[in-house]
Symmetry: C2
Subunit: 322 residues, 2 copies
């Protein structure tokens, strides 16, 4: 989104200005590496846009925004370890490029660096910011634990799955938007509404991720189409399909989970999902969250004019094709 | 120390009252387990005693004290993973009893729980407490990284080693004592003096640990006497001995590092250390830190009467025989 270029520039400068020390090299080199891998920087953008509605300059809300981004990156380093992931954003992960001990400890220090940013956030009541980050950080860890638990279970229910993705991904987006409101001195009603906005955008975004994994145009999609199907990953798409499948479809899906021909596996699973209408079921749920997000934003006691960029960003994010 | 019983009781109650959730079980059961393994609770005791000098009740300083203790326990869980340690305080470590993923994530959540306690600390300026914890936490991680780096090096210098143990263990004791001062509303001069007190007590305590490892009476010592010698661990005792050894002694110590008969190894290393006077060199350094600690405490602008328990506790800790 063109309108966000100055904001991205501000965030990139903030990350450059972290000035991570040179020593101990094995602690900080992984962080310098990881923080320059890029990513959408969606969370700090939301914080800055939210604070801007309350008349706070990007620069004045930057530490609060960076706190969220650093926390997010900490979770990625540790999650990649737990997932034994070789790549992140197309580049080698920290535990692969260095080792597990180094990924563990540099992740730890990155989490502390997130809290350090709160210390640098001069506008906004510190107690509220700290409480919000603590609550959210704990929920994110709980979500990650549930995700790991679910990998070992075959009886995961839809609502459990929804709770897991809410904790693992959506609450941090809620936190990012509310952080901006706290920095802006918003009252509790606005804070709650903006949190709900972020949380529902996060849910919709995650559901869209599940859909795109199987239904993206291959030439637009950065990853292998059907990756979740190939790895038999539980997603909303997959759980909804199972819930609505008839006995024959269930048996066929079970068989396909062991299919060795991966192209065939993706193709045939998609055929069954299409018979079930799984994509549409997901899209309904995604649209519901998008609607709730817009509704929550509407309730914020600020002129609609000032909310325009937040509306535009959520529309932009939720109509992406890759 | 008998006089500390009410303080220990208060801390134990605080830990009980953490009320860690039941779910997700794999995230919180390890923490419930680990937090009841005990330990000396030396750090929170120092925080409560320090705050008490400024007229703050134990109860009113408890969250700040627990923040330090929880942070300390988080470092133990992650350090045990990096060290592949099977036991902690005579009990199975978290990564052994559960697994590495669970130790990683429950450690993460314990660090956040430490910050959560700062949110609950109502007396004292939050910005100062957060800044102190952040700075200290980063240093502790740096110390752990240096410790790991040193394991792979044979050329570690004495001053590098001193820096490492200062970061890895002493700064958290400094932080614990200063935290009490911040809670008590102390001015910067007192805060710095109390930090120095804690830091020097921490250094002296760590050096004493190195001495006791080889020189404790076996029947008083909870661990195997000579454990550091057996594992060729770098300690102040070992580095000082090398620095003061003549060529013949150096060659002999090198040979002994590969000795398979462990009783012989411990015995003969001790004979050489005794020739060198390594224990005395360590004791001089330990006493210097103890002296500096007492000097720093003297500078605190509070009546000497009110400092009595802190003096007594440091004397008690630094004259222990196990």
């Amino acid at each position: 989104m063109k309108a966000l270029e100055p904001i991205h520039h501000c965030i990139d400068q903030g990350i450059d200005a972290l000035n991570l020390p040179g020593h101990p090299e094995n602690l900080y080199a992984p962080l310098r590496y990881f923080m320059t891998l890029g990513g959408k920087r969606m969370r700090p953008v939301f914080t800055l846009l939210s604070a801007e509605m309350y008349g706070i300059s990007h620069q004045d809300a930057l530490p609060g925004a960076l706190a969220i981004e650093l926390f997010h990156n900490f979770t990625l380093i540790h999650d990649d370890m737990m997932d034994h992931a070789p790549l992140r954003r197309g580049k080698v992960t920290v535990h692969e490029r260095w080792n597990n001990d180094i990924a563990l400890l540099s992740g730890d220090v990155l989490m502390i660096k997130a809290y350090e940013q709160l210390s640098h956030q001069k506008k906004g009541p510190l107690d509220q910011m700290l409480e919000l980050l603590n609550k959210t950080a704990i929920e994110v860890c709980e979500g990650q634990q549930l995700d790991m638990d679910f990998e070992r279970r075959s009886d995961v229910q839809l609502d459990e799955y929804r709770t897991m993705i809410r904790l693992k991904t959506s609450v941090l987006l809620g936190c990012a938007v509310e952080m901006g409101a706290i920095i802006g001195g918003a009252h509790l009603g606005d804070r709650n509404a903006l949190y709900a906005f972020g949380e529902h955008v996060g849910m919709a975004f995650q559901i869209q991720d599940d859909i795109l994994d199987l239904y993206a145009e291959a030439h637009l999609f950065g990853k292998q189409v059907g990756g979740d199907v190939i790895s038999n990953k539980k997603t909303l798409l997959n759980l909804l399909a199972y819930q609505h499948a008839d006995q024959t479809q269930k048996v066929k899906l079970e068989e396909l989970s062991n299919e060795k021909d991966l192209a065939k596996k993706v193709l045939e699973v998609r055929v069954i999902y299409d018979q079930i209408g799984a994509k549409e079921l997901c899209e309904i749920e995604m649209r519901e969250h998008h609607e709730k997000a817009l509704q929550a934003l509407k309730e914020v006691s600020i002129s609609e004019e000032k909310k325009k960029t937040l509306y535009a960003l959520s529309d932009y994010l939720l109509t992406r094709e890759n």
